[in-house]
Structures are given as C-alpha cells and as structure tokens.
C-alpha cells in the first residue's frame, strides 16, 4: 500500500463508513464480502466502492471478493483506528460534557486526560473521573503532558484563542465543535463539527420534501 498517495477528501470521508460496516461483518463472523454486498450496506454504488478501495490496492480479487479482516485492518490503519489517542476537552458545557461522557470514545482507544473550563461552577467537578480544571492551567498542563488531540467545545468567541493555545503547545489535531471557523497551521489536522450547518442542510432538504443522497 502506498501510504503517501494523495487521496481525495471525498474518499477519506467514506472510509470510516466502510470500516464501520466491515467491523459489523466481522462481529457476525462474516469473512468474505463483495462490492455488491458493501453497496447494499453502505448505499454507495458497487463501482464507487471498487474505485475507492482500489486507491489502496490489492484488497479485492476479481471474482473472489474482499477479505473482510484484511480490508478492515488496512482501512483501520489508514484512518488511524489502530492507535490510541490522548485527548483534552476545552469547554465543559453541554457538548463538552456529552463528548467527555461518550462511551464510544473509550471503547475506541480515546483517552480524555484533561478537561478545562473557565466557569468557576464547573471547575473542580468531574466527568468520568476527570476533574475539570481552570482554563488558565492549560499551558502548564500541556507543557508537562503529551496530548494528541484537542476538542474545542467553547463558545465561538473563545474558539480561536483556544486553538492557538493548543497549537502553541504542540497539539497536532483539533476537533472543533464551536460554531465558527478557526485557523491552524498546515501541519495541524482540523475537523469541524458544525451542528448548525448540519441542521440547515436538513431543513433545506426537509423544505424540498426529499431525502438527500448522503
């Protein structure tokens, strides 16, 4: 597999979905699948699937289908699902609490090592045994502890300074839930979850009376 090959964002967005279905097949004890079967599960066309998986080469054999274990394991490596990640959460409001309490996180190798907020009513409380610290402690904490990913759950006016603080302290991946766009250097991975924008996409199709192609 050529790991340095340039793969389009659209393909990358589909990989976690393939990964999820392949893991489900494994859980059911199914070890062979086909682009046709994957198509029925994912809703993507069989030719789209073959094209996507060809990006990584050698997973399928014409007429023999895909080896579910190898394929899921390779896709897992590509999307980084084979590693563990140390995470901090900044902002312990509704979304921050939901993320901190999210079980799927822990099951998938994500370890929340610190939570920060500026609200005195929240500081000192614990979420899943992690004590909420004063945001003023973030630089000290990050200078003493290695952290992979930072989750921003602040109001939008605090999002950029939070990101800056994470970046200055060496964090290379940011998951942003604040309803604003933040700027990060080119070597920092950034993923935005803009719930308002997701909701407007829903109401667009709702008002059109149609399911959208996902």
């Amino acid at each position: 597999m050529d790991r340095d090959k340039k793969i389009s964002t659209a393909v990358i967005r589909r990989l976690p979905k393939y990964y999820r279905y392949l893991k489900e097949l494994l859980r059911k004890g199914i070890y062979k699948t086909s682009s046709k079967e994957l198509s029925q599960m994912t809703g993507f066309s069989a030719s789209q699937i073959r094209q996507d998986l060809n990006n990584f080469g050698g997973f399928g054999q014409q007429g023999f289908g895909y080896d579910v274990y190898n394929l899921s394991s390779e896709i897992g490596k590509i999307i980084g699902a084979d590693k563990n990640y140390k995470i901090i959460i900044v902002g312990a409001g509704n979304i921050g609490q939901a993320i901190a309490n999210y079980t799927g996180f822990y099951e998938n190798g994500y370890d929340v090592v610190a939570i920060f907020d500026k609200n005195p009513k929240l500081i000192g409380l614990s979420l899943r045994n992690v004590t909420i610290q004063d945001i003023d402690e973030i630089d000290t904490f990050l200078s003493q502890n290695y952290v992979d990913l930072g989750v921003i759950c602040t109001p939008k006016n605090a999002a950029q300074t939070t990101a800056d603080s994470m970046v200055q302290n060496g964090i290379k991946g940011i998951w942003n839930f604040a309803p604003t766009d933040i700027r990060v250097p080119d070597d920092v991975a950034l993923e935005n979850v803009h719930l308002n924008e997701s909701l407007f996409s829903l109401t667009y199709y709702y008002n059109k009376n149609t399911t959208k192609a996902d």
Copy 2:
C-alpha cells in the same frame, strides 16, 4: 430565483457557511461584500463562491459586489432558516441532553416540543422545561401533535425502529446522531451526524500531519 433548480449536495453544504458569515457582516453593520471578501472569510475560492451564488441568480452585480442583506435573506430562505420548526428528541442520554440544552437551537427558531427515552431513571425529568416521556408514548404524542423534525439520539440498535416510528407518524425530517445508517422513504429528509466518522477523518489527517481542505 428558480427554487426547483437541482443544486448539488456540495453547494448545499456550503450555503449555511455563507449564511453564517453574511449574518456576521450584518451584525457588524456591513451591507456590501464581494466574492474576494467572502473568500477571505470562508476559505473557499472567489471563483467557487461566484459559481455557487450564481446558482440562485441575480445576487451580485459585476463590479458592485453583493448586497449582504438580500443575499443572506435569500440564502436563509433556501436553507429554511426563515422558518420555525417543532422538534422531538428520542434518546435523552449524553447527546440528546446536549441537543435539548443547546441554546443556539432556541435562538434559531427550533422548538423542542417533546423528549422521549426508555430509561425509567430519565422519564419524568425535565430538560429546559420539557419533561422526558416514556418512549412508549411516542405514537400517541405524534398522533396528537404536529412535529416537523425528529432527532435520533438512541443507541444504534434502536435507531431504525425510532426512525420508522417517526416516519409512520408523518415526520418528514430526521437528524440522526446514532452511529448507524437508517433507511427512510424518499420524501423524508435525513441528515446524519456520525461523530465517530468525523473523529476518524480527524485521525487520518492527524497521522498524515496535515490540515485537510475542509
């Protein structure tokens, strides 16, 4: 404006972002903008922006730029931001609670009219003055109350039956947070927020040491 024109999903996904920035300009008292200025704000290219906005026709005048008020108001209509929506939430766990408590919701004309769960420890509790009801009451509630949108925050094994129940009772728009794909008829709008997939997209780019183009 030709409202029946077929617009690609990619364009629709960018509209809420334009809308957000245009509203910010209005809040700052700025009433004229250009594709160049919108490009600096959104990170999309100026030609992309002109092409996107041309889909709706007549918003910009060569050399005069865009009228911020008209443009935001038209985009707002297209994405349905000019209407109010009655919403139910099924699943009052971490994510369901965060959604129910999310202030941006109320400010934008979304009204949570009912919340359902099957956990006896949650039934009877209130989130922002809405009492959590037994999921067994959902059919009765929906037969007596008009609801626009349903939010699914259940575990994945309950997601499809929840969607079926919403659809059978006339709900035409579903916002799905359960980590699974649900099937709905063609006239029902569906928007998935798959946090695990978003996180895998982040770790892919994190392991590549690069920001992705968003």
